[in-house]
């Protein structure tokens, strides 16, 4: 009997749903273990450190939750809210938050798992139940986020249980309800992903998500500053807590779950088991229904048939698209122009790049408003030294910082961003100097444009003396140009073209960190060269004549020009190394 005959005659072995899910999950675990085993030692150490930190955080949260409960019962807070009502609402609030956060975070993970990981076809054509494939995909997507949420929510809920003397049954029930909540949220997220992908291509959705995620991260990071600007006082805080506690409404399934587990904890068995059972039925129903619907929608190809057919551009639009606006481009050599137009088009068309723009702009606005109040004692001391127009020094420092943030990523990643398409540049007859000039313009132009707009707005808002504006603009233009040269050189030296996902674009080795340090040192040094002559003249002579500004411009400008020249000399021989195996 030949091999093919023996394969055909062999009775296919059918696996049940759960053994198949287990097989698929085991495969994922194997991949994770292999990835960990083959990662660099620094990566392994990093993962272990993160794990330990997470455990430490859980312990800290557990301890803090008892403190939180004491705070809840403090007379200060009791003036605004009923502590018992608030404490009773904690399980509901935590479970509601876990549901919506899982829904949001799983959207991105499921988008990747179902449409961008490219293994669905392989899995669906294997002799495993399709439901098992979907179930395992859901579990794979949910597990990491679920584990993370557990790390934050379980210490709080367990802390509540310990401090309130809840029964033993409370603890496993909390874990079970949390897991079911995450599964239901994951199921709904999968339907949501399919509905969105039916309208917008998956890749585009991923790009927009990347942008939104980065913007949200910046907003969260700056939340303290933003809240500070809005002057939220204690009564607002009490109001917010009261609003939150209203989520614990009898009509909410999350409240059934929250109140149910709390009632079980308090040994109110009938009430507790009834409410918990009700929420389990609803959440389980949502999960089962969404799993079945997702499976069907995926298999019938519903989500792959994008409803909005691509509209054909009218001829006039096509012609318009042929001529990107780059007014002074004709003055540049053709290869430089080609690189600039290509890079500006590709940057503009990927929404993820806007997050790099948003971050410094949000920071800029925050810093601008933060600095409006003045520097207090520091201002008085500096004015005492004889320094005039202090706001200008502050503005230019902030503007340089914003300019650096805008420029650094564009510049240091300019070659890495080429990725696997770099072969087109490397096999074309472009002189290294032309290529570098093109890349320099691509990172410099948008940065300096936005920074100058920022400076103008800052001058307007601060009511600064406009006589200083030309000098400030010159300082900005030259300092950012010098910094651009340095980061471009680092980007040439450590370009990594091997990325698969744009989110993984980075420089090789520790070049990114080194570049940040050296660029920052240059910014401080060059800024000092520009501003010190003016400042010293003001301190020692009472005011700064034109000569002071001239000396500053010559010193700072020469330093910037020298740095650009040296950076280009450093980068040119390294260009041919880009893309060569290490």
């Amino acid at each position: 009997m030949s091999l093919s005959e023996s394969i055909i005659k062999t009775q296919p072995r059918s696996f049940g749903l759960w053994p198949s899910v287990w097989r698929l999950l085991r495969l994922r675990v194997r991949i994770m273990v292999n990835t960990f085993k083959r990662s660099k030692t620094s990566g392994k150490v990093g993962a272990v450190v993160v794990g330990l930190l997470l455990i430490g955080l859980m312990v800290g949260l557990f301890a803090a939750s008892s403190g939180l409960l004491r705070l809840m019962r403090s007379p200060e807070l009791a003036a605004y809210i009923d502590p018992n009502q608030m404490i009773g609402a904690i399980p509901t609030l935590v479970l509601t938050a876990a549901f919506f956060l899982t829904l949001m975070t799983n959207f991105g993970v499921l988008l990747q798992a179902l449409y961008l990981s490219h293994d669905m076809d392989f899995l669906i054509t294997s002799p495993l139940p399709m439901r098992a494939v979907f179930l395992s995909k859901l579990i794979e997507a949910i597990l990491p986020n679920f584990a993370l949420f557990c790390a934050f929510t379980l210490p709080v809920l367990f802390g509540l249980g310990v401090s309130s003397g809840y029964s033993v049954l409370y603890y496993p029930l909390v874990i079970a309800v949390l897991a079911l909540m995450a599964l239901a949220a994951g199921g709904l997220a999968s339907i949501l992903v399919m509905a969105v992908v039916r309208v917008v291509p998956a890749k585009r959705v991923a790009e927009v998500l990347g942008f939104l995620g980065a913007t949200l991260a910046v907003l969260c990071a700056q939340s303290a500053n933003i809240i500070d600007r809005f002057n939220i006082d204690q009564s607002d805080f009490g109001g917010m807590l009261s609003t939150l506690s209203q989520l614990d409404s009898m009509w909410s399934p999350f409240a059934w779950a929250g109140r149910g587990v709390a009632a079980v904890g308090e040994a109110q068995w009938l009430n507790g088991l009834l409410l918990t059972g009700l929420s389990v039925i609803v959440l389980g129903g949502v999960f089962a229904a969404s799993l079945l619907a997702a499976e069907q929608l995926y298999y019938t190809g519903w989500s792959s048939m994008q409803g909005s057919a691509r509209r054909k551009k009218p001829v006039s639009r096509q012609n318009e698209a042929r001529e990107p606006r780059f007014e002074f481009g004709q003055l540049l050599p053709a290869p430089v122009r080609g690189v600039v137009v290509k890079d500006l088009l590709t940057l503009r068309r990927d929404p993820r790049n806007y997050s790099q723009l948003i971050t410094p702009l949000i920071l800029g606005v925050v810093m601008l408003f933060s600095s409006r109040g003045g520097g207090g004692d520091m201002d008085e001391q500096l004015t005492g030294l004889g320094l005039a127009n202090l706001e200008v020094y502050g503005l230019i420092t902030v503007a340089v910082f914003i300019g650096w943030m805008l420029m650094f990523n564009l510049s240091s990643m300019s070659f890495t961003r080429e990725g696997k398409s770099y072969w087109m540049l490397k096999t074309s007859p472009v002189r290294p100097g032309h290529l570098l000039v093109g890349k320099f313009i691509v990172s410099y132009l948008p940065s300096i444009t936005f920074t100058l707009i920022f400076l103008t707005v800052a001058f307007l808002l601060q009511g600064a003396n406009w006589l200083f504006f030309p000098y400030c603009a010159l300082v900005l233009a030259l300092v950012i140009a010098g910094a651009n040269g340095i980061s471009l050189a680092f980007g040439t030296m450590a370009a990594d073209l091997s990325w698969e996902s744009p989110n993984r674009q980075r420089l090789r080795g520790g070049a990114g960190c080194a570049a940040v340090l050296i660029v920052m040192a240059f910014l401080a040094f060059d800024l000092a060269l520009f501003l010190l002559p003016v400042a010293l003249w003001q301190i020692f002579a009472g005011s700064a004549p034109f000569l002071a500004y001239l000396v500053g411009a010559v010193l700072g400008g020469a330093a910037a020009a020298l740095v650009i020249f040296l950076s280009m000399q450093f980068a040119i021989p390294r260009l041919e190394q880009i893309g060569e195996p290490e």
Binding site: A334, K342, M424, P581
Partner: protein, 261 residues
Amino acid sequence: METRQPLIEADHLVKRFGDKTAVDDVNFSVCAGEIFGFLGPNGAGKTTTIKMLVGLLKPTSGTARIAGYDVLTQPIEAKAASGFVPDTPNLYSKLSARELLRFVGDLYGLPKELVSRRSDELLRLFDLTEAADDLTDSYSHGMQQKTSLAAALLHDPKVLILDEPTVGLDPKSARLIKDILPQIADRGAAVMLSTHILEIAERMCDRIGIINKGSLIAVGTLDELRSGAAAGRTNGSSSLEDIFLELTGGAEYAAITEVLK
């Protein structure tokens, strides 16, 4: 043929990656008007050799010359004379085919009007006019491959190097490539292509080079290979497939076939 000027020259080319020698002392030349087929099993060193010829990889030793220019010391002149189509297109996903061709035109310093005219011609030739203003990330593999070929032909190169150009193409597009390459060679260009489809090599190529484990083990016309004159190892096999399998390890393939029977 002997009097024609060699436009592609590999002179004792060697490429080592650490301890592994990927290409070991490879010598061959391709003359103007000639189509040279470059064959070899997976991992034999075809793509590495090609990458050295087009300037994507620096040779460990030896010289690669394109149109008489050393790729290492006169890269601008060598690259200006050549067009390259890689095995995986990897185009700029956020550019349309038309924008990509305009970009390539700028890189080669071609006049704007010429780029516009040539782009329209090539897009029409490769049946890409309809999709010319769509971003290439919405293209199929075959469309990307054709865009890549259009980009390589935009500046009417003296030397055209193609790495597995028919992979992923539908029969119509594959036929188009088979029709175009002889025309390019007839206009005096040197064409070098690597392929796994022996029928293409057999039908289209004037000469064939077979590389195995980094070494060029046979070079010549099909008749020369058939008679065993080129390598002195073949035993009068009739088809290129037989010659290829015999030179590169046909016994292994035969064993696999036996198992599958």
